[in-house]
């Protein structure tokens, strides 16, 4: 494999920025945001350089690696801290650093009124470094370090305004739910080491062929648990909505474009495990299908623009997980949807941030309306993202999402029909809730508060939105033109026989577009023809109430996990106090009691001491006498 010495700069540059800004303190306030942006951009530059180098090599020689240092060397367990940049990693590297840099630029303006802007940029740089380590690590253990790093950065950024208790709670919730997934990843690493004796990607890939299917299934399920935690998939999805407590650029970068797609990366990277473990793979598609419906249904009832977009993110990642679970045919499409989603969803989040910026941080869409005239650029960029997520040709989502739907239909048998129908229905619901967001925000009558003065955002904010909008328009075509991405990634995946086609691509596209049209039409009937209430109506159907409550995800977690957990800890605390503390206190009490009793003998009277000595001596002599006798 080709080795390189410059891979480390990808990570080192943003990491240095984070360290400098965090350790430098207030001294770096004036120029900290510029430094962070420059370092992120230079990391993107290194990524582009690596891409150009990679394009110049033959297919086999494309992956490059770099050994940083010997990390763990115990007996038969040897792990080097090493980086691996291959066709899959480079996609992520460019997405992370590219979108990351745009969001850095956006944040310069968006966070300009925050007196802690420097700290914000330090965390953003920390996130970029950790995320790059996640996708560049050459073993599960190196990936794990990045995995935890992004979790930390996510926690710090969700709770960036932790002076509000609700936001601090949201960050804690995200962190705790992520821990469950992280536990899955550590179990997967342990299984890999126990059964194969190695944790590197290449090592596991080699050993996967002659490892028992049971072990691979266990490892696959654990990897899936990890993916559900980080990617907010069912059943660990509940944290994503609350994660919107963070500043909007964070929602765009971490909770839409990059970090939450780490689960898709993990599953795609572990393709050798899942290909050899059909049960685990089936679970992956089930999780993906459930989540894509789950997110879409929540999205239909949310009035908070960021939470609606978060539900949409959850749903779209469900599509990616579904694609990744469909095996070798689906990996490339999952990654393609991931990349296009990175553009259009980040763009829409930045658009939402721009709207909030102009509306005194109001997030309730029922208090928007008619913003098209006041924010033309935001409207256009958001609208392009909207067309992309709907899958209207020739926008990006049309290429990536339709491919996943098509692959799902072609998965074969009843499974294919179910998965395809779910994906198709999801596309329709997506069209409904995204149209709802568009109508409520940009058209109709104005329902603002008195003190709102909507205005277009400064160029530092709309420029990144415009670039991302261009990406939303073109990326799908560019990536799928001549199967560019599929061919680019194909050396990484096992080759597969041709699948029989259940439905022709054109039929799938027609069906998807029909569903989208129906969804859009329903949304128009419901929100454009009628007056929208500025306060959410209470007399709604039970389904709407259900969806507004996030399909009871929090209540379920609280009833099933939180309260029994609290009861368990309460019992343990009681047992600890009664048994462990009781034993310790009992010993102390006995010593104290016998001490107080004996203290009575020390009365200070010489004669009683003398009597005691006498009695003792007589007892001693008596004892000796008895023994001698």
């Amino acid at each position: 494999m080709t080795t390189s010495t410059s891979l480390v700069y990808l990570i080192a540059l943003p990491l240095a920025g984070a360290a400098l800004l965090l350790l430098g303190g207030r001294r770096t306030d004036k120029w900290g945001h510029l430094l962070a942006t420059a370092l992120s951009a230079s990391s993107f530059g290194v990524g582009l350089y690596q891409l150009s180098q990679m394009l110049g090599r033959s297919t086999e020689a494309r992956p490059v690696s770099q050994k940083l240092f010997e990390w763990i060397n115990v007996g038969s367990f040897n792990v080097d801290a090493g980086l691996l940049l291959d066709q899959l990693s480079i996609c992520f590297v460019l997405l992370i650093t590219g979108v990351g840099t745009l969001i850095h630029i956006y944040s310069i303006s968006y966070m300009s009124h925050d007196h802690d802007r420097r700290r914000f940029f330090a965390y953003l740089n920390l996130f970029i470094a950790a995320m790059l380590l996640l996708v560049l690590g050459d073993s599960y253990l190196n990936l794990y370090v990045g995995w935890e790093g992004v979790g930390l950065a996510s926690y710090l950024l969700i709770g960036f305004w932790n002076q509000k208790p609700a936001y601090a709670t949201a960050s804690k919730k995200a962190f705790v739910m992520n821990r469950i997934g992280d536990m899955g990843l550590s179990f997967a690493i342990m299984i890999a080491f126990a059964t194969m004796g190695t944790v590197s990607f290449t090592g596991v890939a080699e050993h996967a062929h002659h490892t028992s299917e049971a072990a691979l299934t266990a490892m696959g399920i654990m990897l899936l648990v990890a993916a559900t935690g980080k990617s907010a998939q069912f059943p660990l999805q509940a944290w994503l909505g609350d994660a919107m407590a963070g500043p909007t650029p964070v929602s765009a970068l971490i909770h839409a474009a990059t970090m939450v797609t780490a689960g898709v990366y993990l599953i795609t990277r572990s393709n050798f495990v899942f290909d050899a473990a059909p049960t685990a793979q089936l679970l992956v598609v089930i999780v993906g299908a459930i989540t894509l419906m789950f997110g879409a249904l929540i999205g239909t009832a949310k009035d908070d623009i960021k939470k609606a977009l978060a539900a949409s993110t959850m749903s779209q990642i469900g599509y990616m997980i579904l694609g990744a679970g469909l095996g070798p045919v689906g990996y490339a499409f999952a990654i393609m949807h991931l990349l296009t989603h990175g553009f259009f969803k980040a763009g829409m989040f930045l658009g939402a941030g721009s709207v909030m910026h102009g509306m005194n941080d109001e997030v309730n869409m029922r208090k928007y309306g008619a913003l098209r005239k006041f924010m033309p650029i935001t409207f256009i960029t958001f609208g392009l993202g909207y067309l992309a997520i709907l899958g209207v040709p020739p926008f990006a989502g049309f290429y990536s999402k339709d491919m996943i739907i098509e692959t799902a239909f072609n998965a074969g048998g009843i499974k294919g029909i179910i998965l395809g129908s779910v994906a198709l229905l999801g596309a329709g619901i997506t069209a409904f809730y995204m149209t709802r967001v568009m109508i409520l925000t940009f058209t109709g009558t104005k329902r603002w508060d008195e003190d709102a003065h909507p205005h277009e955002s400064p160029w530092l904010m709309w420029l990144p939105m415009a670039i991302l909008a261009i990406g939303s328009v073109t990326s799908g075509y560019l990536l799928s033109h001549g199967d560019a991405l599929v061919n680019w990634l194909s050396p990484l995946f096992e080759h597969h026989g041709e699948h029989e086609e259940l439905l022709k691509p054109i039929v799938v596209s027609a069906l998807a577009l029909t569903m989208v049209a129906i969804g859009v039409a329903i949304a128009f009937m419901k929100y454009s023809r009628q007056e929208v209430a500025a306060v959410a109506p209470e007399d709604v159907s039970i389904f709407t109430k259900f969806a507004r409550q996030d399909l009871m995800q929090d209540r379920f977690n609280e009833a099933v996990f939180m309260r029994p957990g609290q009861a368990l800890t309460a019992t343990l605390v009681a047992a600890d106090e009664a048994v462990v503390d009781g034993a310790v206190r009992g010993v102390a009490k006995t010593a104290l009691g016998s001490g107080s009793a004996l203290r009575g003998l020390q009365n200070g009277f010489v004669r009683s001491y003398a009597a005691l000595i006498l009695i003792g001596a007589i007892a001693l002599i008596g004892a000796i006498w008895v023994v001698v006798q």
Binding site: Q602, G604, R607, L614
Partner: protein, 99 residues
Amino acid sequence: MNAANYLYISALLFTIGAVGVVVRRNAIVVFMCIELMLNAANLSFVTFSRINGDLNGQVMAFFTMVVAACEVVVGLAIIVTIYRSRRSASVDDASLLKR
């Protein structure tokens, strides 16, 4: 004469001394009772010396006398001092050590 008789007397003297120490309050009397116990022990020593036919017991008795003499000197000094300060020679009055 049976040597054991001396031991009986020794035991009797010791018992009188011991009871005296325990029941009497006057420090001087207590002190004399202690002397009585020491001398009871001395009597035992010389009796055993006689029975065994060696001088160890008699040497031991001399030691006891020396110790008793020293003890009398120190003990009387203490009693006199206590009497001076407290106007009492009762051992029960001198029970301040417990505080």
